[in-house]
């Protein structure tokens, strides 16, 4: 029973994202779902840092952008045959950059950490924006080629993204459930105690930061192939903000919450965007409602059919030490 509950989210995940292919919703919606799943990876990767470790980075657009630009520029420059390798190189590039930024910014706590990550990302955005010859500046880079097996109908790229994302999400899921993941959870709740358990908070945070940056860049690289274009907005701070929004709307203390958040954010943009260009207003309202009424996010709500909370048992439990 316990193992079924543990894998239920995964079953739902496969049923939904593969079932969609069977239904064949048409090019437009397949493209939309590809965005959901890529943003889903971005959000899950970000949440390893945000919900898990308790570090509010406001600069993850940097890693997302590095992934997108490395993948896109390599494909543009040397042909798309090794597309998968380029995505991987994007991840590695972001991981290398994250070591330097992490070493500097993790020395700071709270709002100072947040501001420093923002500054680094904005710096990269500014440079990308201005280096016209290299990055295409404001216009970005268009017509990024895809390998032959991914061109043609959108579902091909959707399926490709699904496979890559699922592998990445699975790895992050394993990490969350590992002893390292448990240490990260401990750091969020009580970093001082982690120190006095003989563990180095800074080192563990740094490793989490690098892992998060790596998978964030994978998501960015996938996105570069989806639209075949990259642009400096991918490095701009609203992209960083979106990660925070997705995790909070979905539930930052749950593993799959960020995927739900990604679906809601993308869906809102799509549905509201159909009727009006003021969809960011509606996202603002949703965030406001979530913050005020469901601070634990949609997956964090105590649904009536959810698992029994231990708090309810408290009443009947005798103080545990009186038995001896």
């Amino acid at each position: 029973m316990k193992s079924l509950r543990q894998y239920l989210p995964w079953i739902l995940y496969f049923v939904f994202f593969l079932g969609v292919l069977a239904v064949n919703p048409g090019a437009h919606y397949t493209h939309l779902l590809a965005r959901v799943i890529i943003f889903g990876l971005y959000a899950v990767a970000f949440n390893l840092l945000f919900g898990r470790t308790g570090l509010v980075s406001f600069g993850h657009a940097l890693f997302y952008g590095i992934g997108a630009y490395i993948t896109g520029m390599l494909a543009k420059a040397s042909g798309p045959d090794l597309f998968l390798l380029y995505i991987l190189l994007g991840g590695i590039g972001a991981a290398i950059v994250s070591v330097f930024i992490g070493l500097l910014s993790l020395r700071l706590t709270g709002m100072f950490f947040t501001m420093l990550t923002l500054a680094f990302a904005q710096l990269a955005w500014g440079i990308t924006f201005k280096l016209y010859n290299f990055t295409g500046g404001d216009d970005g880079i268009q017509a990024i080629p895809k390998p032959a097996y991914l061109t043609g109908p959108v579902w091909k790229y959707y399926f490709f993204s699904f496979v890559v994302v699922t592998i990445c999400v699975f790895v992050i899921w394993r990490i969350s459930r590992s002893s390292f993941g448990m240490v990260l959870k401990g750091i969020r709740q009580n970093p001082g105690r982690i120190t006095f358990m003989g563990l180095n908070v800074y080192k563990n945070q740094l490793v989490a930061y690098i892992i998060s940056a790596f998978f964030t860049a994978i998501a960015g690289g996938l996105y570069a192939g989806l639209d075949g274009s990259i642009h400096p907005d991918m490095l701009h701070w609203p992209t960083s903000g979106n990660a925070i929004l997705m995790c909070t709307i979905g539930g930052m203390n749950t593993f799959f919450g960020p995927v739900i958040g990604a679906a809601i954010l993308t869906g809102l943009e799509e549905i509201v965007g159909k009727y009006t260009e003021y969809w960011s207003f509606s996202i603002g309202v949703v965030v406001l409602v979530v913050v005020l009424l469901f601070p634990r996010g949609l997956l964090g709500i105590k649904w009536p059919w959810g698992r029994k909370s231990t708090t309810e048992e408290k009443e009947t439990e005798v103080a545990c030490n009186t038995g001896d």
């Binding site: 590992s178 105690r193 006095f196 563990l199 001896d324």
Partner: protein, 251 residues
């Protein structure tokens, strides 16, 4: 008896206040001792200094014949000098079991595993259960730390420290804020742990029943200065100590 911990000429100022004033202490292996002193005597600061939480201005801390002055706190913990806190320092959203288990992972160096399920380490699991049994916490292993009574939280805090296989255990007011019956229980627990693990234990305490009940040696800190040191009988009749305590109350 050989010394496990030697503190030599330890000194600390906060602004103009001399919170630790050239303190010299030698802790012998296996001793059960208390540090007492009026509020603001610098007792917790003293613990913070020797465990590496804050840097000292002057002086040396020698542990197991090794100079550990300026060593990072997590390294000192790994060397076997472990502390528990005055306000229990727990992972409130986690279960009692997980609180202890996390410490066990650290103890066995299994905290770096990234792909295996966190519960797949048998040595850590067995160690956790042993500690839970020893501290009487097994019955509430699945309760969240936030759901425990104040007294049980203090015991869990000590259980975490114990899991780290300490050679010397530093306890900051183990009975702070406890009801009388909880104090008695804590006293019994500490005596049991001291005997069972042959554990060197140094505790800060205000409760004199506890201090004179279980400590073999008592040290008195007043305004950052070690004014007396000795057996309970010696301290009971020590003039400077009586003056420090009574004098304060008279004023």
């Amino acid at each position: 008896m050989p010394a496990i911990l030697e503190i030599k000429d330890l000194d600390k100022h906060f602004g103009g206040i001399h919170v630790t004033n050239h303190v010299n202490i030698t802790v012998e292996r296996g001793e059960m001792s208390a540090i007492i002193g009026p509020n603001g005597a610098g007792k917790t600061t003293f613990f913070n200094l020797i465990t590496g939480s804050i840097p000292s201005d002057n002086g040396r801390v020698v542990y197991e014949n090794e100079d550990i002055t300026g060593t990072r706190p997590e390294k000192i913990v790994k060397m076997g000098m472990v502390r528990a806190f005055q306000v229990s320092s727990l992972f409130l959203e986690e279960t009692v079991y997980d609180n202890v288990y996390l410490a066990a992972l650290s103890n066995f160096g299994k905290n770096i595993g990234m792909f295996a399920d966190r519960l797949s380490y048998r040595d850590a699991r067995e160690h956790t259960e042993m500690i839970l049994v020893r501290t009487g916490m097994l019955g509430c292993r699945d309760l969240k730390a936030s759901e425990l009574s104040h007294g049980d939280q203090k015991i869990l805090d000590i259980a975490i420290a114990l899991t780290l296989n300490p050679k010397i255990l530093l306890l900051d007011e183990p009975t702070a804020g406890m009801a009388p019956d909880e104090r008695v229980k804590m006293m019994a627990l500490l005596e049991d742990l001291h005997q069972y693990f042959q554990l060197t234990t140094v505790f800060i305490e205000h409760d004199m029943d506890m201090v004179f009940g279980i400590a073999q040696k008592i040290r008195v800190l007043v305004q950052g200065e070690l004014i007396a040191e000795g057996t309970p009988d010696h301290i009971r009749n020590h003039e400077a100590v009586i003056e420090a305590y009574l004098g304060k109350e008279v004023v």
